[in-house]
């Protein structure tokens, strides 16, 4: 080791420098007063807090620069509480720093390693214990114990089975069927093609019977975004083009990456952007991913109009909507 010849010797702890309060009773008295003032400030803080709780109504707002319009009740409650706590701490520390002994103390460390004798004793005891139980000899007991403990350890897994149902094909299907009307969300109004102007976007859900409740888990799969372009703006193959209606195209609103709602539509570029991870989809090319981490386009819903002229689904989604999962085949 290169430390054997030390060039410079450890000069040892520097001599202690006394504080003024250690030698000058006047300074000590002054420090004592300062500590007391800090503690009194804390008490005043608590009084402010109690006063605010009782006397400031909850609906008073006052304007402060930087903070803006602030609820006076909660502001003064908090400020009082902050002061009451903060000044206790300041007082205690000021006390420790000015009046309590500040001479550094040296203690020695002890080695953690047990003495050899103890270690040997320990090994002997452990061995004797194991031998007394016959752990080494009675392999039948050892193995059957291992088996029983292992099986007992599995039982929580069994008991947790009822946490939820099996997924079955839940992740793969939505409420959309051939002929399901698209209705506005919110509002639940059916939509005619002419209700949407070119460039407009509408958030829709499948129609449900009057009075029925929509579960959030259905919305999480069914949400569909309608966008109307000029038909010539599309760049789709014949099949996908037949899924649109007079320039109206429908996509699942649930991001194919991690399931956020793809809610940002840029009218100029005709891009859909997911606010979570910025996956960007090109509406004119069947929501092809043009940027970001999403690996698949948003599933397109084939739409047409029914006899009354309302927009309906032509068929269910042809692939699962939302984020990927192991059983997904494409």
């Amino acid at each position: 080791m290169s430390n054997e010849i030390e060039a410079i010797k450890d000069p040892g702890l520097p001599a202690h420098v006394h504080r003024r309060a250690d030698t000058d009773p006047k300074a000590a008295k002054k420090a004592e007063r300062q500590v007391a003032i800090l503690f009194i400030l804390s008490a005043l803080g608590t009084v402010t807090m109690i006063g605010s709780y009782i006397f400031i109504p909850q609906d008073v707002f006052i304007f402060f620069p930087v903070l803006g319009n602030t609820n006076a009740h909660q502001l003064f409650l908090g400020l009082g509480m902050a002061a009451s706590l903060f000044f206790i701490g300041m007082g205690a520390i000021h006390w420790a720093k000015t009046l309590m002994p500040d001479e550094e103390v040296v203690i020695q460390r002890h080695e953690f390693r047990s003495p050899d004798e103890d270690r040997e004793d320990f090994v002997a005891t452990a061995k004797a214990g194991a031998a007394a139980a016959g752990l080494g000899r009675r392999s039948l007991i050892k193995r059957s114990l291992g088996l029983s403990l292992g099986l007992a350890g599995l039982s929580p897994l069994i008991l947790l089975r009822d946490l939820g149902p099996l997924p079955k094909d839940e992740l793969s299907k939505t409420s959309w069927k051939a002929g399901t009307r698209l209705v506005t969300d919110p509002g639940d109004r059916p939509i005619r093609a002419e209700d949407l102007e070119v460039g407009a976007v509408a958030q829709t859900l499948p129609e449900i019977t009057k009075g029925a409740e929509r579960a959030l888990s259905d919305i999480g799969k069914d949400a569909v975004l309608l966008i109307r372009l000029r038909p010539e703006e599309f760049n789709l193959d014949a099949e996908r083009l037949s899924w649109t209606h007079e320039g109206i195209i429908a996509f699942s609103k649930i991001c194919s990456h991690m399931g956020c709602a793809v809610a940002l539509y840029e009218q100029q570029t005709k891009h859909l952007l997911c606010p979570c991870h910025q996956s960007t989809f090109d509406v004119t090319r069947a929501a092809k991913v043009i940027f970001g981490p999403a690996a698949r386009p948003l599933p397109q819903l084939a739409i047409t109009v029914d006899s009354e002229g309302y927009l309906v689904a032509k068929q269910p989604f042809t692939e699962p909507v939302g984020p990927s999962f192991w059983e997904r085949s494409s």
Binding site: I8, M100, G164, P167, L216, G220, A223, P293, W326, R328
Partner: protein, 528 residues
Amino acid sequence: MTARERIAGSVANYVDERTGAAAWMKKNLNKVFPDHWSFLLGEIALYSFVILLLSGTFLTFWFDPSQREVIYDGGYQPLSGLKMSAAYASTLHISFEVRGGLLMRQIHHWAALIFMAAIVVHLMRVYFTGAFRKPREFNWIIGVGLLTLGIVEGFLGYSLPDDLLSGTGIRIAEAIIQALPLVGSYLAFFAFGGAFPGEAFIPRIYTVHVLLLPGAFLALITVHLMLVWYQKHTQYPGPGRTEKNVVGYPLLPVYMAKAGGFFFIVFGVTAFLGAVASINPIWLYGPYTPGQISAGSQPDWYMGWLDGLVRMSPPLETHAFGHTISWNILIPGLIVPGILFTGMALYPFIESWMTGDKREHHLLDRPRNAPNRTALGVMSLTFMLVALINGGNDIIATTFHLTINQIMWFSRIAIFVLPPLSFMITKRLCLSLQRADRDLVLHGRETGRLVMMPHGEFVEVHEPISPEKAWLLTQHEQNPALALDENDSRGVRRPGTLKNKLRARLSRAHAVAVPKVTAEDLKEIEHH
């Protein structure tokens, strides 16, 4: 004997006769704690944990952890008549009707941010000073565990109000679970009690958030502190400080007053933040529904790096044999974080393997004197920072009028380029600082006074530095790299050549240093 002394005496006697505590107390009340501002970082984490327990308990009295649908008819007019979960409605109730409720919510959230920040900075202090070395490896691992649990606990906490922002976070967590090969969709259905979002998740994570994880925290923190107590605190090098002693202030009264006082200061500052700094105003986001979202969706900062990694991931998915593997989720969401945290937990053992150093260390390293370790730390931080910046790419884009694509491409390249670059720069900087230390010891401090010599030359007067300072700059060890010959003493090739080569290479990199001042150097200087 005064009456007070008599009462105290009989109480002490009563306790001691039943526990024998006096012997232990006598020894431990005089325990010495070294003083340094950076030793307060762990304390901040501890105190904010206490604040979290107190403010969190307050919130449970009114919070209703249920996803049962209710119609809101509370005091916040803009949401009046809206359908929402009882969890969200009760959070609004706490914010607008319970006196001090909003204050406590904000204190709780601020304390959580401070808790995580303190843990991270404390971890950095421990890492860069080498405090994790033997015998403190257990405490390092417990610390990494606490950090990991803290991230989970924080995420579950801000998910509880069931607002539009937090619900989106849960949606992303669900997608990560669902992406697991083989078991993903099953685990997701078990966790959520069916299809997302269901009505089971909030009540379940509530139990985890207020019971299971705080219990784990208490257990781990207790062991963490007991080990600090038993092993005694590390100390910075300096005159009079050795591997064998502890220099500092006794527990009673100085350390107790300072630490106790510091608790109140941390609490006071947190309360001040809760009073003046609005945080997580859930009433602005609205209730969660899977069909909606707001722009600029951001997680809390300690999750931001994870989100940033997910955002920068390339669109990779494998579709084969009727199955899908989402690399774009698995790599940034599970594999990279898994490697990072495992590597972090194992680092003490890796370093000890590289250097072959199996001795105890109680004197801290100055970061410059361990250039390799310091550079590795800065490299990891740079990685995290790039990821974190990308996690806020939308906010940065709108603030600085850039496009998201520019920031994303910057991050995608920077995450590979900047960490190695920062490693090299840091290592050079450390060595330069060592060189500066050496110069300081050899030639003293530059005084800025110029003197004209009789022959006309101008020289600057150097003043020798104090013996204390000189000691500080030269006390560190400089160990040579491991000598791992390919052949053993009998000339036979060792097994595991590749492993040995790697170890020798790493050991050499770790031992790079500017030689510190030796006795010969000083002698030579005197001759001049």
